[in-house]
Symmetry: C2
Subunit: 413 residues, 2 copies
């Protein structure tokens, strides 16, 4: 098999751990697999480099910043390659420009445009283990770019897609995807498998195990993904296309996010174009709005409530207060002490009563729901931040996720 | 003017010093000069990276080692570029492969084959300050190489030659080239100017201010070099082609080296081919022999004494002991407690009595001369290591170097 493996920053945090990674790779190699290994920077290194740049100026030029921070993966990939040599295995470390991995010119959040696979295939055919520096690419003019946070996952999945790999393993410091955050729910269970769509919804609603972009890429190119720990031999979670078995699972997991804030604008004239007037200046600042709720009153006025990333809360609030004046709105309110709790499951498509059960469960625990949003396979509720853990635990229990992995159908109301 | 500047590791050791470097560059820029700036890695970084690799294995694969250690200059060049931006000056950092600086494939000690100057010239024409990561290059297949110790000096001089720069300034932690090591000779004087040849002889005989390779390169391409400190505004030493004024200076400086060891092989048959038998196995191990002295006895036997770098002493001694047996030599002796003291000066070509004065001075202080070697503009004596400082001081005084820069002719015996 051709396997692409990706090791995160904690997995290569020091030489001892890089040794353990090398031993794992060699075990695969001994079984006859071809290996392409993507590495992140040693834990803390990217932040250290960004901090150096920020000490010079708050907004360093992004081309130079990428040149700087791409060294993190260069160091770790070289060290892993040397480690493999020390065990007598031929290895070669390749940087983004050496593969090459061509990207757009959007420094610090470039997107992969094309991967040339000839060099990698050539090394593989000669028996080499190929190490690829994650997170980085190159523009057509030879400038170094980086892919943004979680970029090494994207590198791994994109390489797996381009190479037609049989499997893409993402090694990290958790054992896989859980029914809920194990730090909150003690009997959270590791999922054996989950569909791309479910993983996407879980990632977008707060599960941090994988970046959304890499899951999207895996879904588009049908790359079988495995998330697992580099510290144990435990099997991880397989992320693949939805199958019949998955459809039977109504709720696969509970996620939460405390990274959002809510802004409400009350008593705006309810006429066409108002929403655009509110959201255009927000969008122009690059602030991403997540949930939006609009309610109309009989008096021709409307209230609009929406959420933004908590880091953008202050800026968004200032913008909205200006807009509110222009629109003659009654008042503006904001709250950055909120949490979004979500339930995710492919089975929701074919099962009814799931939302009701969620709302009832929260109500039973005295948790007020401020906002609701739904997708085909996800229901999210915004609640007071202080109830986060309580809500996650209650929902985890209500949907029987801790007891057994597959909730029996008859239990769903 | 187009000026190439090179800043060493101590000059960019931290953000504060990088700021000072940026300010110096901006001063030049304000005067209307075009600037290409070569930087070394932040002090200690290259050693830190090499040490990481050596912790994994004693002899790491050299391609991967170069990939690893080239990150040092990548970081410092990016930081300097960001620093210039923070002052509002457009700058761009270029890596070896981006210039590109093509080298041979001899990893860790590659030689520059060709520098493409189009990209640099393009940035200069747009008003950019161009920062180039020193010490690194790229092979034609896109692999990163490094140029060996002092490689950033070579990068700077090679760039100056390729660009036809008007001046190449080497900024370091000393104020220039001195008549002797100021740590040993308190009244050592900084030389205002010196010829390439003298600088070469001084570098080869122990002065550490510049790597020989970069001086050779400057000499071949007639690049005017300046060595000066990045910590003061003092004028440095100009290294240029020999002129009439220089010819009048009999001795420009006294140098010493404690990096050598002596090996003697006594009583070898004095017949053709013996020297080759002795030195071939040494050369095959990559050990460089500096001085060689052979003396023949009436009985058809000869003694051969030579020096090798002290780091190679043990290995060379083992080889010679083997060779001595094969040749039926009488005995082998070694000594790694020696020093080489040299006097260098362009005026030696036209002045007599210089060597005599040197030998007499050493004799007057009771210092025994073990070996002598001479070139057109240099005389070196190997002495007991413990007399190093005494010899340097005595010669410095004998040739009046501390009193005034240009020794008067009538004083030479």
């Amino acid at each position: 098999m051709l396997i692409v493996q990706k090791y995160g920053g904690t997995s290569v945090a020091n030489l001892e751990r890089i040794r353990a990674v090398a031993e794992r790779i060699i075990n695969y190699k001994k079984q006859g697999h071809d290996l392409v290994v993507v590495v992140s920077a040693m834990a803390g290194e990217t932040d250290r480099l960004i901090n150096l740049a920020k000490q010079i100026m708050e907004n360093p030029p992004l081309r130079e910043l990428d040149l700087l921070i791409s060294t993190g993966e260069q160091v770790s990939s070289a060290l892993l390659s040397i480690m493999l040599h020390s065990f007598g295995y031929p290895a070669v470390a390749l940087l983004g420009y050496q593969v090459p991995i061509y990207t757009t010119e959007l420094y610090t959040k470039a997107k992969i445009k094309e991967i040339k696979t000839e060099k990698i295939k050539d090394y593989l055919s000669k028996g080499y283990i190929v190490i690829v520096a994650g997170f980085q690419g190159v523009t057509e003019t030879g400038d170094i770019t980086t892919l943004g946070r979680g970029g090494s996952d994207t590198t791994a999945v994109a390489l797996a897609a381009a190479l037609g790999a049989d499997l893409c393993e993402i090694y990290t410091d958790v054992e896989g995807v859980f029914t809920a955050d194990p730090r909150i729910v003690s009997n959270a269970k590791k999922l054996k498998k989950i569909s791309y769509e479910e993983m996407l919804e879980m990632a977008s609603s707060g599960a941090k195990v994988l970046e959304m972009r890499s899951v999207e890429l895996a879904m588009i190119y049908k790359v079988p993904l495995v998330v697992r720990s580099s510290f144990t031999d435990a099997e991880g979670t397989l992320i693949i296309e939805e199958d019949e078995e998955m459809e039977k699972v109504v709720v696969s997991g509970i996620t939460y996010s405390r990274n959002e804030a809510r802004i409400s604008i009350y008593g705006v004239p309810d006429r066409p174009g108002v929403a655009a007037k509110i959201f255009r200046p927000i969008a122009e600042k690059g602030i991403i709005v997540d949930m939006i709720i609009q309610t109309s009153h009989p008096d021709g006025k409307a209230d609009i409530t929406f959420t933004v990333p908590r880091t953008d809360y202050k800026q968004a609030l200032e913008i909205i207060e200006k807009v509110a004046k222009e629109l003659n709105a009654e008042r503006v309110e904001g709250d950055d002490k909120i949490a979004k709790v979500s339930i995710v499951g492919a089975g929701m498509r074919t099962h009814y009563g799931v939302a009701t059960k969620m709302f009832e469960t929260l109500a039973k625990h005295g948790i007020n729901i401020m906002m609701i949003s739904t997708s085909e396979i996800k229901i999210s509720c915004v609640i007071d931040e202080k109830y986060t853990e309580l809500a996650v635990r209650a929902l985890h229990e209500a949907f029987n996720l801790g007891e057994e992995l597959f909730v029996k159908e008859e239990k769903i109301g």
